[in-house]
Amino acid sequence: MLKPLTGFDLLRPPTLVGALEMMSTLDSTMPIAGGTDIVPTFKDLGSKPVHLIDLGLIEELNGVMEEDGKILLGPTTTHAQILASKLIEEAAPALHDAARWIGSVQIRNRGTIGGNLCNASPAADSAPPLLVHGAEAHICSLEEGHWIPLQEFFKGPKMTVLEKNEILGGIRFPSVKGAGSSFQRIGRRKGFTLSVVNAAVYAERDGEALREVRIALGSVAPTPIRAPSVENKIRGRKMSEELVEEAAAACGEVAKPIDDVRGTAEYRRDMVGVLVKRAMREAWRRAGGEL
């Protein structure tokens, strides 16, 4: 007999202000949306009781839209909504790729992009695509909200910079015509599974050169990371298989993975290179390039 859930109550504010007020005034709060990551964690006794603040009724936190050349994602937007969005498929194909591989139909119908990011697993599949698209995270509280680069949002494994009275209010990234991106991952079976290692690449093309390139790696550090040293090495150069090999090797140097129940550090370090190669080639192709 599995233990029933314990240690929380559930508050369901209909407005954003209401939710933020609760988070500012109540002791020990935690936002919840789809709950796919956090509901099972309440089986273990011992942690301090929390007030779960359900963000699901707040309409303004849900949806995908384009405004002033930027794509805006509400934090309670589900992976299913992202997968179905033609806007995302065109503007951020890497994010579309990742949405397909997050969970099953059932999980995608419930799990949210905000939840995926706030859970802050180093293996979070939505992180590398957003990182390479230069995404920013909206830190929202009763005070004036502010945007920070997404790479500053993650503090450590399962830790974000959100203070107790703050929520992730949204994600935004620029919509760049002609840019290509790709997400690649290694799983332990073809069916849905947590990524052993993942990566994304973003490319803007200027003829045969990489006008802009961004690389993000997951599961090879305490948080999802960009690889600026590698990006700087290859930015502006003519795209070629040799360049792809060079980037892949350099990423292997940058990666600092650990052994865990899902995979060995050695394997992750080796795979980071393979995934970056595949992502680079596909991002380049999607940007209209040929190799």
């Binding site: 290694i186 332990r188 079976r189 073809k190 069916g191 849905f192 599974t193 947590l194 052993v196 129940v261 899902r262 995979g263 060995t264 050695e266 394997y267 080796d270 795979m271 393979v274």
Partner: protein, 384 residues
């Protein structure tokens, strides 16, 4: 030497001795299973691995045999009961449990075949420890082989009485009585059919026993526990499979793309049910070979839940060729039927592991062959 040829030289045949020095005097279908899957998979055309981009495709064969019912000559038996009601329907009782495998349904088919009843007229009663005959456990690949033979015994006994009464009602010798589709008729005058309800009514009037108790005990065997030699199992189910796999040499990920399965089932009582077992076992075998890994740390399981104890999903299902059903009847069981449930997984795992060897040249002696293990082996062999 070619793996199939090697096996052909070493497989058991009728008259052969097992590792326990048991002489198999009948019901040895491994040769037909092996030649069957070799032909179906066009084995001879796939003797070299094939490169497909970063992947390499290989083919492997596996053979297996699995004892039915008890080992080391431990006596085994099973009981069942059958009765015909005045409306011509029958109630069948067995202690073999329906857990989705379809074994009691197989018993009903055996009864239907012997008694000549329509399957729809046979009701299989839910087992009740108070009133159901003890068929002994539902395990050990014995549900159909042992339980079904007890069913056959019950059916044969009841049939005898039904035929006697029907012969009298039809005015013909017992040898001419045909029982079919819940009707009795004279084979030589088939137009005049008597429904079972009338036969049952007459049995009631005449005081003919409408119920029977079936009992089957496996033949006596001898096994020496000191030496480990003798008759281990009463009969064995044989199986062979060929697996086709693709190994991504860059990532070590393995995909089982196709399986060709074959099994000597003695007698196929229900092919759909056999396929159900074989397909389930293929999925489970793939899990064993490349995914499932129960890990412990200081005696505590660390792979709790399906997140980390990875089993195949629908997306991991390979293409599966039609099951080659071989029928080398077991002379002591109803219609020759042998068990299918457990044996079906045994040849899958070696076929997959051998296919990985064919594709990569690398042998593994432990499973699962997860991507990181595969990749490490390829790396160390300089193959990626």
């Amino acid at each position: 030497m070619d793996p199939v040829d090697f096996r052909m030289k070493n497989i058991l045949r009728v008259g052969g001795h097992t590792t326990c020095d048991q002489v198999l005097d009948s019901s040895v279908g491994i040769e037909k299973c092996l030649t069957g899957v070799a032909a179906a998979s066009e084995w001879a055309k796939h003797r070299e691995p094939v490169r497909v981009g970063t992947k390499v495709r290989g083919w492997g064969v596996g053979c297996a045999y699995h004892g039915n019912s008890t080992s080391r000559s431990t006596p085994d038996w099973s009981a069942a009961s059958l009765m015909i009601h005045e409306d011509g329907s029958l109630t069948y009782r067995t202690g073999i449990c329906e857990i989705g495998q379809g074994s009691p349904f197989g018993h009903a088919k055996i009864v239907a075949e012997i008694i000549g009843a329509s399957l729809n007229d046979i009701r299989i009663e839910q087992p009740d420890t108070d009133s159901t005959p003890d068929s002994k456990p539902t395990h050990g690949s014995r549900g159909l082989m042992m339980g079904g033979t007890a069913a056959a015994d019950a059916a044969i006994k009841l049939r005898e009485r039904m035929v006697r009464v029907a012969a009298d009602m039809l005015g013909c010798p017992e040898a001419q009585v045909e029982l079919r589709d819940s009707q009795a008729y004279n084979r030589k005058k088939p137009a005049a059919k008597i429904p079972f309800a009338e036969v049952a009514e007459q049995m009631h009037i005449r005081g003919e026993n409408p119920a029977s108790y079936g009992f089957y005990t496996s033949p006596q065997r001898f096994f020496n526990p000191e030496t480990g030699l003798g008759h281990n199992y009463a009969v064995y189910t044989f199986a062979a499979s060929v697996a086709e796999v693709e190994v991504d040499t860059e990532t070590g990920q393995i995909e089982v793309t196709k399986i060709w399965p074959a099994m000597d089932v003695g007698k196929a009582i229900d092919p759909l049910i056999i396929d159900g077992q074989i397909h389930g076992a293929i999925s489970h075998g793939i899990g064993f070979a490349i995914m499932e890994n129960l890990q412990l740390k200081n005696g505590v399981v660390t792979t709790t839940g399906f997140k980390d104890y990875v089993i195949p999903s629908a997306l991991d299902t390979p293409e599966i060729d039609d099951t080659i059903i071989v029928e080398e009847a077991y002379k002591h069981a109803a219609f020759g039927a042998k068990g299918v449930g457990e044996p079906s997984i045994l040849s899958i795992v070696p076929a997959v592991v051998n296919a990985i060897h064919h594709a990569t040249g690398l042998r593994f002696s432990t499973i699962p062959i997860t991507p990181d293990r595969m990749h490490k082996a390829l790396k160390e062999a300089g193959k990626c």
